[in-house]
Symmetry: D2
Subunit: 272 residues, 4 copies
């Protein structure tokens, strides 16, 4: 648990346990604190590393427009700071994009890559959804109703209705009512506007786990099918009964997939 | 093309062609004018009937809260007005719900039912999406970005990007900028709040076509799977490569399915 | 109902009704007699044409190895014999392949094409299944157990268990016990060995309906996805709750899709 | 690597590594030798246990008709022999059924259960497929063509065509040409005839991973959907791009899922 300095910004990171290193990269609305429940299962065999990207959690704000590149540099600086030469990276949504770009820029450092609820490119559809979020920033309740049903599945809403209502009460009084936090969300959202690594997918060198969720209506299964078709050593599964927020909707599967794929060291099976 | 009077309201309807009657029921944002391109193919063998429900198109506004029941009564009044005893009904989204409720209330009058992008019940998830729409009514651009990506698929956005941008320019200057129209949209949206016919699905007596769209993120495929499992004489297909707006995204399949199922008069095959 | 002569062989065909012509092409084990239940619904608006391909039904046997080309020529000869210049063609399985090849060879004659349970190419997997069928020809019961579960879905087996058992009793005493019929089946099966039109799919000029069945384990959905991606004006739907034998498992949907698509004359929607 | 005596039969088992015990249960045609490539990755954190069920591998034949019950007793005897009180069990196909029944009979002993390519019941469809296999036992080539395309996916056939041809050459000269082996296969196949645990699924007490494969045409996805809906603490994923033989078609995912789920000790997430 500490800060390190990256391009004159203070960046918050946490590490837990010992073993081969495993970095988790946050979704856009998340922070290190979002992983509390996952620390114990995911640090059992690995040195688990969490980090707040710029405009997330306890890290500094970056009060100007930016794109993913700065977050990718931040990851690289963190690994240098920790003297980690090679590691496994798992990311969800926004974090999966940063992870994928990191693996493209630094193939020699990534042992295995795990992409949950990922896309290879922002397109006009995702941009319109981002526009809806950005236009709702001044009204916490509107932000909630605009963003949350795109993230959680109808089934999760039905089963966990009380939890969802508590979450609405909480979020609309805290994060969504916090002007500085919302400005960070707008910048993070806009930082994906030009994201497009489709032409580079063939360059991914490490074994890559690609995870779809059947009811993901923000990065739908077609996006991960595309990734699976174009990343050379890809391994593709679908979590049934989950929306975009796979770590909340199916935490056991989320953690099991990371635990298993990160620690499955075998590169080639002699079967075929 | 005429008005008739229903419960002191003027209701606009249109009829085309001759043959066994076929009623099309509009989705929530639609009106008779939305079907222009479908008139010729769907009036080829049938007397095609279009109608603006209350708060739609040229029909009167209903300036108070209501639920689906009044729209179901409107359909019944229209059929009485036209002296139609028995007919086929096809509906999309909101219209499919009205059609389904009509078939439950008046089983003796419905020959065949066709449900596109339907659900058996509004739940907390759909209600939250409706809340997002309702909170965006004062800003046409916000309404567009909030509602439209839920209706059209990512693929449609990519293929028809120019058309979508024109549509945004048009809608944000016309309907979405029209206060009376938006008030109608809010009432229509709220009229579905308590919609739930799950317990009655076993009572549907006519052959029923159920149509899912693979990329429908407003009434996802799980909703139609439920309908297909619970409606006794159901026939279930999925349109691939379409979002919620099946009539716009796949008009040929939309029209072909109605044309074929409405005119397929055979009730039982002796095969099994 | 008559024979006509094609390359010194007698070919049986049947026609029903009036209207724009619609040709149905049989699956491999089928004959004109298989369509009995479909004659009334499919001749309502169209001149329905049925034909037994070589080695099928009442048509002559072709006691030598052949490939699809002869069946494609047979279709052309039949249309010339009937003075039909232009028509709609629907085929299931083997018949869909012949129909697709006919549309490729004679684009000027095919108005609309409907492919049920189709593939663009036989591959090593389908060839091995054909090998299993061919090696079982001497034992009617073995032929039944080898071929039938690949054709009907588990769900159909469960729902129609009595019908299936009657069908087993019937088939193993009649067709599957008939040496000449089985020799024809072997030749028909072998005639698909080198079928591969993948490189030509971009040349299909007419609107084409492509129909998958979710539980089709002989020509699985991936095959039709390929067709839909490569045929320019394709329209793709999936019948849920059906195996390979869509005409038996979901006859209402099978007939409705043909009825609707064949009579949907509109070529372009002005929507987008 | 040793034998132990179970009901007067010699049963072969193997153990590897240290840690909390993990038992792998073979599919019907498999033996301990089938897992060679998986020993290293799956014994990294666990004491891995392999066993040949009766009529498999080096274990004795059971030259009379039997059902699953004897294999379930065998598993219990093995665990007693090894003084294992509680463990994780993973099974594929036939082995998943034995594992599921063991968990139902001995809930106090099963920590976590992992079911690959499983079904809750044999039905008439699966029985007919078994009949086809049983009628083909006298001809190795016929057995190959009858059984193998149901086990491997079309995609696997295409990608690994050479390997498949070598496998055909090998299997038809060894196992499939071995009369005693084939008699064992018939008994194993018949032992599933009355398998049906549907009514008991609600009694499964441990966290259960359920794994479908998208192109599994022997135990199709509908079977695992049923399991996932009825086992209380189930966690459901689908391996894309795999047929029934998931361990051969997607070995990295197969091993990763077991490695992760078996070692994910957390029982409840406090998220919801």
């Amino acid at each position: 648990m500490a800060y390190f300095t990256f391009e004159n910004k203070q960046v918050w990171y946490e590490t837990y346990g010992e073993g081969s290193p495993l970095l988790l990269l946050n979704g856009i609305m998340m922070s290190c604190a979002s992983w509390t429940e996952f620390i114990e299962p995911l640090s059992r065999f690995n040195r688990l590393i969490l980090v707040d990207l710029l405009d997330q959690g306890k890290s500094d704000k970056l009060c100007e427009a930016y794109d993913h590149a700065v977050q990718v540099r931040l990851v690289d600086a963190l690994l240098n700071h920790l003297n980690i030469e090679r590691l496994c990276i798992a990311g969800i949504s926004y974090g999966s994009e940063i992870g994928l770009e990191y693996a493209l820029d630094h193939p020699e450092r990534v042992e295995r890559l795990m992409l949950f609820n990922a896309t290879a490119a922002s397109g006009p559809w995702l941009t319109d959804i981002g526009n809806a979020w950005n236009l709702a920033v001044d009204d916490p309740m509107q932000y909630y109703y605009t963003a949350i049903p795109v993230i959680y599945s109808p089934r999760f809403y039905k089963i966990h209705n009380d939890w969802m209502e508590n979450r609405r009460a909480l979020l609309t009084k805290t994060a969504f009512a916090n002007e500085a936090w919302m400005e960070g969300m707008v910048r993070l959202t806009n930082s994906s506007a030009n994201y497009d690594v489709r032409a580079r997918l063939g360059e991914v060198q490490c074994p890559t786990l690609i995870v779809s969720c059947r009811q993901d209506y923000l990065t739908p299964v077609e996006e991960q099918q595309y990734l699976a078709e174009h990343i050379p050593d890809s391994h593709y599964v679908t979590i049934e009964d989950s929306g975009h927020a796979s770590m909340y909707e199916q935490p056991t599967l989320f953690a099991s997939l990371i635990l298993g794929f990160a620690n499955h060291a075998k590169r080639r099976y002699g079967i075929v």
